[in-house]
């Protein structure tokens, strides 16, 4: 059958000028769909099945287990005797009404505001300085490596390091302040004491993680088209105007992504707390995740710990969903997604 003899659509175009559906050539309705190229159907089943089993074992089963025990009075004893009672929402009520939890939420907010935000702000500023002010490429690379170094250390090691630096009696930090004359030689700042413990944690965290937003924003800045900046130079825009009108708006999404990453990390900020202050003194530097860890692994109050974990999970999920929606909206407005 030659091309000329193929049955052509009778009414070729509809009102909108598009090709109307059917009638189509014979082969079109007779063609077999979904024919796979893999001979043995067991191959895809095994390839997909194994990872699914692993995920069920290490993610889904523990999650279901956690949800189950959040509604039971499970503790160490009852785990051994396999004897636990359903208590409804009691665990959640216990958590939400405890002062310890309320305090830890305030700590978390303070940590987010001064830790995560500061890291993103500092990182953005440093990225801009690195790109605009530092002229030599070699120097830029050296500075970048130096600034990224703290990020390569394990957080627990950073915690130990800063615990040493911030020792009241012979810590390097106090020593430095005395040398600089900002502190009387007989004075001591108790960095890890009740009032300052959370701030010390924040300082250590900013020291370690500012480089991440820096890297993200710097790479975003590098990828902005240079022709735009030349156009701005010909227009006569001042540095400040270029920053405010071109660079920051174009980096907005990148900065938001950097913030989301730091924000999500903030929820699992346990390691430094554990090493530097263990949540103390007097629970003054505790964060919700740390309490969940304490309750579950130390005290084996499994039910209460599960309630903590679920509350944290729900709040984080809501916030991150909001962030992602913001991101989607902005990207859509720019025609990227």
């Amino acid at each position: 059958m030659s091309v000329d003899q193929l049955p052509l659509p009778a009414a070729a175009l509809d009102d909108a000028g598009r090709a109307a559906a059917g009638p189509y050539p014979d082969w079109f309705s007779k063609r077999r769909r979904g024919r796979s190229l893999i001979v043995n159907p067991l191959v895809p089943a095994v390839m997909v099945g194994l990872p699914v089993l692993v995920i069920i074992a290490i993610v889904i089963y523990p999650t279901v287990w956690m949800f189950y025990h959040a509604f039971h009075d499970t503790n160490m004893m009852s785990l051994f005797t396999r004897n636990w009672q359903a208590v409804g929402w009691d665990n959640f009520a216990l958590v939400l009404s405890s002062d310890r939890f309320a305090d830890s939420v305030l700590h978390l907010l303070r940590y987010l505001l001064f830790g995560a935000c500061l890291q993103v702000l500092l990182g953005t500023a440093l990225a801009q300085i690195l790109y605009e002010v530092v002229q030599s490429n070699a120097l830029r690379i050296v500075l970048l490596i130096v600034m990224v170094l703290p990020m390569m250390l394990p957080p627990s090691i950073v915690g130990v390091l800063w615990k040493f630096l911030l020792q009241a009696d012979n810590g390097a930090f106090n020593h430095l302040l005395i040398k600089l004359g900002m502190l009387a030689p007989t004075d001591r700042i108790e960095w890890l004491d009740a009032d300052l413990a959370l701030w010390s944690l924040i300082i250590a965290d900013v020291w370690q993680w500012t480089a991440l937003p820096l890297l993200i924003v710097y790479s975003g800045r590098v990828s902005l088209p240079p022709a735009i900046y030349e156009a701005a130079r010909v227009d006569g825009a001042s540095r400040w105007l270029v920053l405010r009108r071109i660079t920051l708006p174009m980096l907005k999404e990148i900065i938001a992504i950097a913030f989301i990453i730091r924000f999500m990390d903030a929820y699992k900020f346990v390691d430094k707390v554990y090493v530097m202050t263990a949540g103390g003194p007097a629970q003054r530097s505790e964060l919700p995740v740390f309490i969940a860890f304490q309750k579950g692994i130390r005290e084996f109050q499994v039910g209460e710990a599960a309630a903590y974990a679920i509350i944290i999970f729900v709040v984080a999920a809501i916030l991150i969903t909001l962030f992602l929606q913001y991101l989607k909206r902005v990207l859509k407005a720019q025609g990227i997604a």
Partner: protein, 367 residues
């Protein structure tokens, strides 16, 4: 309002790009720079704009030395080949950006942007973002951004090269008629010779290191100073025949293709060729080769027997590639003609219109 003077400007990157280039563009002049890609046309514009620091030489705008002055104080405006629109700003804000940089007041800014947008017929697009408009509209937005600046010098870098043919013609007409552009000194860079011939009050053909020839459209097309210039003006491009001169009585014959194509040099050209013998390149524009029908009179043309290789009917014209004595010749014909490959034909060469270039360096021997 000012004239632009370039005095022996030099700029090199890995190798010299602009080598002691001098040029004056008068106020109100539309100067087109044409040349192959990668030759330094954009570099020339960037030097004028102040985006590149000169290695030597001076740039004068309105008699003032601006060589060491940053771009925004030169009163120049430049469009970029990539348009360089701000992707996150609307068309309105893109056009307004030079005024924003100057801190113009709100009312004046809105009035001026509105004027320019109406002029360029993009006033219905002012709320759109660059990714929501077409290539031609982006180009107009970029042009609008330079127009609102009301500069002394316009620099346009390949403004319409990346658009499709229909819009290219439409915008070309716009460049003819835009008063704002025609009032001040403009340098327009393109690789398209037709754009250059169409738009330029004067045209500069850029070769390695600088401008090979500067002149009006007629001058550069009819009297190219070098083979390089002749090659870059005209489509299909000029036929080049490596020839040897042979004196023959009082006539001079040029012999190409190992002696198989020979023609008499027109009397008007003999003096320039020193009457003697020597190697040179003969340039023959395709429109100076005619296909003669059977039994037609030579009419002062040199007759050459040839064989058809390829014929392309291009709608308005036909392009015939014929072979004679091992030499390929391209001729312009009527598009209605029919030729079969291998068909023998008679070509009439208008020897009066031939161009003669020296074998070394390709200088035009008529001077």
């Amino acid at each position: 309002m000012a004239r632009l003077e370039l005095q022996e400007i030099c700029k090199g990157f890995d190798e010299p790009v602009l080598d002691r280039l001098s040029l004056t563009v008068e106020e109100g002049e539309f100067f087109v720079v044409v040349g192959p890609s990668g030759i330094g046309k954009t570099t020339l514009l960037r030097c004028v704009a102040g985006l590149e620091v000169l290695d030597a030489g001076r740039v004068l705008i309105g008699g003032t030395d601006v060589t060491r002055i940053p771009p925004y104080r030169r009163r120049v405006a430049m469009t970029f080949e990539s348009y360089a629109l701000y992707p996150h700003l609307t068309v309105f804000e893109n056009i307004a950006s030079p005024l924003r940089a100057r801190k113009a007041d709100r009312a004046a800014l809105e009035r001026r942007v509105g004027e320019v947008a109406r002029l360029l017929r993009i006033d219905q697009l002012l709320d759109r973002k660059p990714h929501e408009i077409s290539g031609g509209q982006k180009q107009r937005t970029a042009l609008g951004r330079t127009l609102v600046a009301e500069p002394d010098i316009f620099l346009l870098d390949e403004p319409i090269s990346h658009l499709d043919a229909k819009i290219r013609h439409e915008l070309r007409r716009q460049f003819h008629t835009l008063e704002e552009l025609r009032r001040v000194a403009t340098i327009y860079v393109t690789h398209d010779y037709a754009e250059a011939l169409s738009l330029g009050d004067r045209i500069g053909i850029m070769g390695r290191g600088g401008l090979e020839q500067v002149g009006t459209a007629r001058e550069v097309f009819q009297r190219p100073t070098s083979l390089f210039v002749a090659r870059h003006m005209g489509q299909p491009s000029i036929n080049e025949l490596a020839c040897e001169l042979a004196a023959e009585g009082d006539a001079v014959r040029a012999v190409a293709g190992g002696g198989s194509v020979a023609f008499a040099v027109a009397p008007a050209h003999r003096a320039a060729l020193n009457g003697g013998t020597g190697r040179l390149t003969v340039g023959i524009r395709p429109q100076h080769i005619a296909v003669l029908p059977e039994g037609a009179a030579a009419d002062g043309r040199q007759i050459v027997e040839a064989r058809v290789e390829i014929f392309e009917a291009l709608g308005a014209t036909g392009v015939l590639i014929a072979e004679t004595g091992g030499v390929s010749l391209t001729a312009l014909t009527s598009p209605d003609a029919r030729f079969e490959p291998g068909q023998p034909i008679r070509l009439g060469l208008a020897t009066d219109s031939f161009l003669y270039f020296g074998a070394d360096g390709g200088r035009n021997l008529h001077g």
